[in-house]
């Protein structure tokens, strides 16, 4: 049972805003990452869908940008408790990128330039739930926010939306990624407040 903080009143969220438990709204866009921001020149950028050494699909930047893109307006939720409502992105749906891929894989490990990884069930990347985003608010995605391109999986906490993505590895078994190995929740559903291991 919570103890009361004598004299604390707090700042309430307007009642017309629905946020996941324990989140508060912000209008700026804080940055959280574990190391230096990688700088990936577009002429060296590539993205693969692979099964380890077996590459199923590969795009360079030009080929990637020829894929049909969508505009996306979504709320995003960071495990550090801020939420940003109605963010505008442009990106390619992973449904588009997975067309014609036949796999029995159940899990994925997403890899980034700079070495970051995060794991997601494959089904969470399908059915209009995930994109590779390359524009934010009508500008090219800034490097500190994951540019040239980042994963966008808005129904999970934002650490799952890996910045600087370079590939998705399909796997038969789950394997924890970077933060998932360091005490954060394996799945990360903000509506069930799955912040840390054990939540």
């Amino acid at each position: 049972m919570a103890i009361t903080s004598r004299g604390f009143s707090g700042r309430r969220t307007p009642s017309d805003v629905t946020l996941p438990p324990g989140q508060y709204p912000t209008t700026d866009f804080p940055v959280l990452s574990a190391g230096p921001t990688p700088r990936v020149p577009l002429d060296q950028w590539e993205f693969t869908i692979n099964e380890g050494t077996d590459v199923l699909r590969r795009w360079d930047w030009k080929a990637f940008r020829k894929l049909p893109a969508e505009t996306i307006t979504v709320d995003i939720h960071c495990v550090t408790r801020w939420s940003k409502l109605g963010t505008h992105w442009e990106g390619v749906s992973l449904d588009t990128m997975f067309v014609d891929i036949k796999t029995d894989a159940s899990h994925t490990l997403v890899h980034s330039y700079g070495g970051y990884t995060t794991n997601l069930p494959l089904e969470d990347l399908m059915d209009k739930q995930a994109w590779i985003a390359f524009r934010f608010d009508d500008d090219d995605l800034a490097p500190e926010h994951g540019g040239p391109a980042r994963l966008l999986v808005p129904h999970l906490y934002l650490w799952k939306s890996a910045k600087w993505v370079m590939g998705i590895t399909l796997m038969d078994e789950d394997q924890p990624g970077f933060w998932e190995s360091l005490g954060y929740h394996n799945y990360g559903d903000p509506w069930r407040e799955q912040r840390y291991q054990g939540d």
């Binding site: 903080s5 004598r6 604390f8 707090g10 700042r11 940055v31 550090t80 500190e144 190995s181």
Partner: protein, 243 residues
């Protein structure tokens, strides 16, 4: 799981920053660099949670310290820096985070670079280095606006006196003390080259501060030949992240 911490002591570090010592009977211990979530609850049940870096070294005394900087429009930091009193109870969750940590068994040179209140988790590492009697050589490059807003000044001076394996360089960005060797300036590539460990010694670098500070410092470290896996960062924005 939320634990209850009782405020055992309060100490002002600057005009806007306060260290809170908490007694937590079931505290499981922590590593230097980890943080803790603090939850405040109003009488009607409304609650707000923020993360704060732990300032104290790991210890067996079931005590920890956090240093909180008051943000102008903060929801939780004004309460923690102005209203909370000795004997009050706060709810805590943690310790949290396993990446931005220093462990006493690390033998390599350590480069700490802090901006403003980004010094707090670095101070936990310096204190842990002292209490573990580690021989790893530490360097701290500490960027602050002016002398009056330096956290832990006397303790840092004592910990860096002759014979200790801690060397400190201050980078004052707006006003310097009279005896400062440099005019006010931000950390740049030149100061990194002069004051930080050379990359050929393969130091582990810990950089903590506001996002633009961390972006620029991590860029200088990378350009100076430090590998990305040797540069650990913790950023905070106006509302996000941890302090």
């Amino acid at each position: 799981m939320w634990r209850i911490g009782t405020v055992a002591a309060l100490r002002d570090e600057t005009a806007t920053a306060r260290t809170i010592t908490l007694e937590v009977p079931d505290w499981p211990g922590h590593l230097a660099g980890q943080h803790v979530d603090v939850r405040l609850t109003a009488e009607d049940g409304y609650s707000a949670v923020r993360s704060y870096s732990i300032a104290s070294a790991p210890n067996s005394a079931k005590r920890l310290e956090i240093t909180v900087e008051r943000l102008p429009n903060g929801e939780v930091s004004p309460y923690l820096t102005q209203q909370v009193a000795v004997g009050d109870r706060l709810e805590l969750r943690g310790p949290i985070g396993g990446w931005f940590v220093w462990r006493p068994e690390q033998p390599e040179p350590i480069q700490l670079i802090g901006g403003g209140s980004g010094i707090v988790p670095l101070m936990a590492m310096i204190r842990s280095h002292g209490s573990a009697k580690s021989a790893a050589p530490f360097r701290l490059l500490y960027s602050v606006r002016e002398p009056g807003v330096v956290f832990y000044y006397d303790e840092l001076r004592k910990r860096s006196e002759n014979g200790r394996s801690l060397t400190i360089t201050y980078a004052y960005t707006r006003a310097t003390p009279k005896d400062s060797p440099r005019p006010p300036s931000r950390i740049d590539a030149w100061l990194i080259a002069e004051a930080a460990w050379p990359s050929k010694l393969v130091p582990t670098c810990y950089v903590c501060g506001p996002t633009p500070f961390v972006e620029s410092v991590a860029g200088f470290l990378s350009a100076g030949g430090n590998g990305p896996d040797k540069i650990k960062t913790e950023r905070f924005g106006p509302t996000g992240g941890r302090k």
